[in-house]
């Protein structure tokens, strides 16, 4: 071993110590929550919430129980179902519209498209607050969506309160289009002009070019966009709070706010189990497709 390497060695060790310490910083709140969530509420003392509940092996840590998770599932069940009813169509529609808009504004070349595109993507940064009151007015007083929706309740699995989820799906679709368009445009700029031009000379219409050439080449981008939109819409509280407001259509983030608090104090195991349960779908997506998520957020 050379002296140069000897000199570098303590530095490398210090580097890894810092990296591991930072990893601990990011993971501790989540792991502490996980350990607490699998403690039976009766035996929970909170003396060392970061340790696994291994009584009687580790005294004072409480005993292992999945009861907080089953209680949380009972309390959040409907909210989780509503969130899925909301998130899946809103993700698919915003992705699809975003892809189509990006194609129409990138691969077909015409004057004025940059202006439209700039206006479209500025929408990414508009705070939700700027549209809340009009949206509440729109969905409750202008569009009689509730009565329009009523005949659909004869269908199986459709309930009257689902109209609020429809309103929320449309809202999230509209608000998701700007970021989806941005993500797809970055991808479509890289597509080869020659290939599209060749198809065009063969007499292919704009629609055919999109369906046959662009769409199949966008599949990796759809994965990025869907993962990003799924996370965003699942995690949102504000639109749900102001458009659904309350009642049977409440989504999981709304239900989570008030969980685990009662007259007798805070039930931390239940609250942590509920928080993790509400986060589970996005956590699973993140763990499975972390790279695609990173690609989405940095675009």
């Amino acid at each position: 071993m050379s002296t140069a390497e000897d000199g570098r060695r303590p530095k490398r060790i210090a580097l890894y110590v810092v990296l591991v310490a930072m990893a601990a910083f990011y993971l501790t709140p989540i792991l502490t929550g996980l350990m607490t969530s699998i403690t039976s509420p009766e035996s929970y003392t909170g003396q060392s919430p970061y340790l696994p509940p291994l009584e009687p092996l580790l005294p004072g840590t409480g005993s292992f129980s999945l009861q907080p998770w089953t209680t949380a599932l009972g309390e959040l069940g409907r909210g989780l179902a509503n969130s899925f009813i909301l998130v899946i169509p809103a993700t698919v529609f915003s992705g699809l519209f975003g892809s189509m808009a990006a194609f129409g504004l990138t691969n077909v070349d015409w004057r004025g498209q940059v202006g439209i595109y700039a206006t479209l993507i500025a929408g990414i940064f508009i705070p939700y607050q700027a549209v809340l009151v009009p949206l509440t007015q729109f969905w409750y007083n202008v569009v009689p969506l509730q009565s329009l929706f009523a005949p659909l309740t004869v269908l199986p699995f459709v309930h009257e309160y689902h109209w609020k989820l429809v309103a929320l799906i449309v809202t999230h679709t509209a608000y998701g289009i700007p970021i989806c368009t941005l993500l797809f445009r970055a991808h479509y700029k890289k597509l080869s002009d020659e290939m599209i031009e060749a198809a065009r000379l063969d007499g292919a219409s704009v629609a055919t070019i999109y369906r046959r050439i662009v769409l199949p080449l966008s599949i990796p981008m759809f994965a990025v966009v869907f993962i990003y939109q799924f996370t965003q819409i699942w995690n949102d509280l504000l639109f749900a709070l102001t458009i659904i407001q309350f009642g049977d259509a409440a989504v999981v983030t709304q239900e989570l706010v008030g969980i685990g608090v009662s007259q007798s104090g805070t039930n931390f195991p239940l609250r942590m189990a509920a928080a993790l349960l509400a986060a589970l779908p996005t956590l699973v997506v993140y763990v499975l497709f972390g790279d695609k998520f990173a690609e989405g957020v940095t675009a």
Partner: protein, 347 residues
């Protein structure tokens, strides 16, 4: 190559001279324009965004000029700027109060209320403090992490995944985790403080610590984002720049300070824009942390104030007014950014 693409573009563009000519050509070519033929693709998106985003923003501005409160329909017959005068009432003392100076700030009594309505100075001040502290800390921490991760480490993917993990969580969820961390009896922060002989402190309810506690939790959630942006930028710097600085005998710190960090300007600006806009949106976090619309005056930001005025107090018009202020703030941050992107041809 570039010429070829330009020629291809030309053939695609509106100015394309069609060979069919004749009388019918003018109407035909109008329908045949690429802007029209591609309309089925971009028009649905433009209509949806136009109606639900920009239409709603305009409508919100009109609402801010009304006296709309309580239940019922807004009355658009008399529009005035009264709400803005209430929002920015007592400008001198109000402005100074954002920096902890000046005298007592007086509210105003608008036509739609029999009570005194507070101006926005307090929540505006908190918003700016939160934005600056949160953005600066995220960028610094993100940059340091990116530099560490960029040093050819092992398990790079694992570290990156862990650092970005909190960003995949909902504000509502992270607020629950941090409420638990800050808890005076069983919270890890207080347990740690107890080891060094401080505490326990009720961090979340303490007016002096509240905003710091919120900022800290938000830094935890979003610094990973800054790291990812910086890491991508660092990877884009040719390794010859690193080597040239090495050969010159510059120390590592000097090399980063003099050679590398100046090249990260674009990354810093784009991360900064995104992160400040996140701070404007921190409503979800505060709502979840404080279990409702009342975070208390020392943690009240414009985002919470707006929703509280509109949805808890039903002062819809005043809520819309605060929303316009938020919108203008976002515009001031984003407008120049998008314009500079456009100028550089990056759009």
């Amino acid at each position: 190559m570039r010429e070829l693409i330009a020629r291809v573009r030309d053939r695609w563009s509106d100015s394309d001279v069609r060979t069919d000519g004749g009388e019918a050509a003018s109407t035909r070519s109008l329908l045949d324009r690429d802007s029209v033929r591609s309309a089925p693709f971009w028009l649905p998106a433009v209509l949806l965004v136009g109606l639900f985003v920009y239409g709603a923003v305009l409508w919100n501005f009109v609402l801010s000029l009304t006296d709309f409160t309580g239940i019922g329909e807004p009355d658009y017959s008399s529009l005035d700027l009264e709400n803005y005068f209430v929002a920015f009432a007592d400008p001198v003392d109000g402005f100074l109060s954002m920096f902890g100076l000046g005298g007592e700030v007086q509210g105003g009594t608008p036509a739609w209320s029999s009570l005194t309505v507070d101006p926005v100075w307090n929540s505006l001040g908190n918003t700016i403090v939160l934005m600056v502290v949160f953005a600066a800390a995220c960028l610094v921490l993100g940059l340091l992490l990116a530099i560490l991760v960029d040093r050819e480490i092992r398990f790079e993917n694992t570290f990156r995944t862990i650092y970005l993990l909190p960003m995949s969580l909902s504000f509502v969820v992270t607020a629950k985790f941090w409420l638990y961390m800050y808890n005076p009896q069983t919270g890890l922060i207080n347990i740690a403080l107890g080891v060094v002989g401080i505490g326990p402190i009720g961090i979340v309810q303490n007016p002096d610590l509240k905003l710091g506690a919120v900022a800290f939790a938000l830094i935890w959630q979003f610094s990973g984002y800054a790291m990812i942006v910086y890491l991508a930028a660092l990877r884009g710097i040719p390794s010859s720049h690193f080597e040239a600085a090495r050969v010159d005998g510059a120390s590592t710190i000097k090399m980063y300070w003099r050679v590398i960090i100046p090249q990260l300007r674009t990354a810093t600006v784009s991360a900064l824009v995104v992160i400040t806009v996140f701070a404007l949106k921190a409503f979800d976090f505060l709502f979840s942390m404080y279990g409702g619309y009342q975070p208390g005056p020392s943690a009240d930001i414009l985002a919470t104030r707006m929703v509280r005025e509109a949805y808890a107090n039903q002062n819809w018009a005043y809520g819309s007014t605060i929303a316009v202020i938020l919108f203008v703030m976002a515009l001031c941050i984003v407008g120049p950014y998008i314009y500079s992107q456009y100028k550089r041809g990056d759009l």
